[in-house]
């Protein structure tokens, strides 16, 4: 009899997770380059109960022998949706938006003494002062953005103007003379579903994926000719608020339905108790 409560309780926990996910999506509705996650359900195990009192007399049966009762639902996945967000023109020289699908900027991150390359779609960059009158191109968290050869992009200060070209070239004007002094290195995610969120709007590759698959099969360098950037613009979050709100209401109602199942079960137990 407790099957009913177990089904409902398990599913309510999973619905709560879905709400958490929707909450996170909505919270990031204004985060540049943010990619939302979709959560969809999948049914849990189905239990076979052999109840036919007389197996030799299955008159009028439509299905194979026995009863099959499921045991609830769980979240099947929370996959990142890499759909392109819309462009917001900012006219800021250091803002760039990637126009190619599944293309990512590379960012060098050092965390707990371990250095690794992470990936992001957020193109709101800054210049961070370095030693010897140099500046380095960094993300909003101060992590270096990687350029040609996987090296950070370091420029001499005292520039008149800086422009990031469509192909990722960093064009610097000094004393009226334009020069390409750096190049953004863009990668393409071949297997976007292997990227895991690392926080701070960054994606990383888990050690498990790197152990099992060659890096080139997961992310590919994009040749300069294939890079398409829009400078002076930012890619906004790809969250559709209307859809998220609808999902939220739908999930909340499903939660209520399952809570109702539990209270109905409780009342049924009450009836059993009142038998005598």
């Amino acid at each position: 009899m407790t099957r009913m409560t177990i089904q409902a309780a398990v599913t309510m926990g999973q619905l709560q997770n879905r709400l958490d996910n929707i909450g996170n999506n909505i919270a990031n509705a204004n985060t540049a380059g943010f990619k939302g996650r979709d959560a969809n359900f999948s049914s849990l195990l189905s239990q076979q109960i052999n109840t036919e009192p007389d197996p030799t007399n299955p008159v009028g049966r439509l299905t194979p022998e026995g009863l099959r009762i499921g045991s609830g639902a769980k979240l099947g996945h929370t996959n990142v949706n890499f759909e392109q967000g819309s462009m917001e023109v900012t006219d800021r020289n250091l803002d760039v938006a990637l126009l190619g699908d599944d293309q990512l900027f590379q960012v060098a991150v050092e965390e707990n003494g371990v250095a690794e390359t992470r990936y992001t779609r957020a193109g709101n960059f800054y210049l961070s002062p370095q030693e010897d009158n140099q500046v380095m191109l960094v993300t909003s968290d101060g992590n270096p953005v990687l350029g040609a050869g996987g090296e950070p992009i370091v420029l001499m200060n005292n520039m008149d103007d800086l422009k990031i070209e469509e192909n990722g070239a960093i064009n610097v004007t000094r004393n009226g003379v334009q020069n390409v002094e750096g190049q953004l290195e863009i990668v393409q995610a071949v297997r976007p579903r292997l990227l895991e969120a690392a926080g701070n709007n960054l994606f990383r590759l888990s050690e498990e994926s790197l152990d099992n698959y060659p890096l080139a099969e997961i992310v590919n360098n994009v040749g300069q000719a294939d890079v398409r950037l829009k400078s002076g613009a930012l890619e906004t979050s790809n969250i559709d608020l209307a859809k998220q709100t609808t999902d939220m209401i739908e999930t909340q109602r499903a939660y209520q339905f399952n809570a109702k199942t539990i209270s109905m079960h409780d009342q049924m137990q009450g009836l059993i108790n009142q038998l005598r």
Partner: protein, 274 residues
């Protein structure tokens, strides 16, 4: 003992089981491609009731002969005979994700016919599913969200390499490397399929094998990319059924209480003196 005591108990147990099936439907109201279960109740086999009598034979000794008179049939209970998945098409929902696919089933040559995606489970066995909420794994193969391979019409996994592929309405996956046909299976009698959990259906014993849907005359179907098939659970209907099952459970409980009162009288009042 009073016969109806057990009949009413059966009624309660049956309604409980029905509730379990209904609450499972309710939990899966958001599972893509889920097919709700319907319960079929059945009465216990009929019993023939007879009345035992004595008949006087008009002789000098006044002999009595026992006879039996048939009264009629009685059913002494009810049980859930089977849970039948309802293969009615669920609504379609646009998701704009390339790895989401929905099967839209048009006319079928058989009333009970239904089409499915063909997948391979963890043990390498062929299973069927309507949940087209797929993904691409680390090797570039199209899988279900449980990681089971989605099969092509030759029984092999489908390598899409990346997530930029197109699925035609006829079910062909077009990638940079060419075109592969999704294996869409058709079962002439979908009731032969047994639910396995994880949205999978398994072919029951002695059941007719599924066939390639493209070769079936009079079958109309579409594979829609960027869409998902909703669960076909109607939450309003399910809630109503649950309330009805609840009241039926309650009614049976009341009957047991009535029987208990009758027994109470039999035990405590019949033999009371004075």
């Amino acid at each position: 003992m009073l016969r109806g005591f057990y009949t009413a108990t059966n009624g309660m147990l049956t309604q409980q089981r029905r509730q379990e099936v209904l609450s499972n439907n309710m939990t899966n109201a958001q599972t893509p491609g889920y097919k709700q279960d319907q319960t079929a109740l059945r009465a216990f086999p009929e019993l023939l009731m007879q009345r035992v009598e004595n008949r006087d034979i008009p002789t000098s000794q006044g002999t009595k002969v026992p006879t039996m008179t048939e009264i009629g049939a009685i059913n002494s209970g009810v049980y859930v005979q089977e849970t039948i998945p309802d293969f009615v098409q669920g609504g379609l929902r646009q998701t704009d994700i390339a790895t989401d696919m929905a099967l839209a089933q048009g006319e079928t040559p058989d009333d009970t016919g239904s089409i499915f995606f063909t997948v391979q489970n963890g043990d390498g066995d062929v299973r069927y599913t309507r949940n087209g909420n797929f993904t691409v794994d680390g090797e570039g193969n199209l899988t279900t969200n449980e990681g089971f391979y989605v099969l092509d019409n030759e029984g092999n996994p489908i390598n899409t390499d990346n997530m930029s592929f197109t699925v035609t309405p006829e079910g062909f996956v077009q990638t940079d490397n060419g075109e592969v046909a999704l294996d869409i299976s058709y079962s002439a009698n979908a009731n032969d399929l047994v639910k396995n959990g994880q949205d999978l259906f398994e072919l029951g014993e002695d059941a007719e094998a599924l066939v390639d849907a493209r070769g079936v005359a009079g079958l109309q179907f579409n594979v829609l990319q960027n869409q998902l098939e909703n669960s076909n659970v109607d939450t309003g209907q399910t809630m109503t059924d649950m309330m009805q099952a609840y009241r039926s459970f309650e009614a049976n409980q009341k009957i047991i209480q009535q029987y208990d009162r009758s027994l109470d009288k039999a035990v405590n009042e019949i033999a009371r003196l004075g």
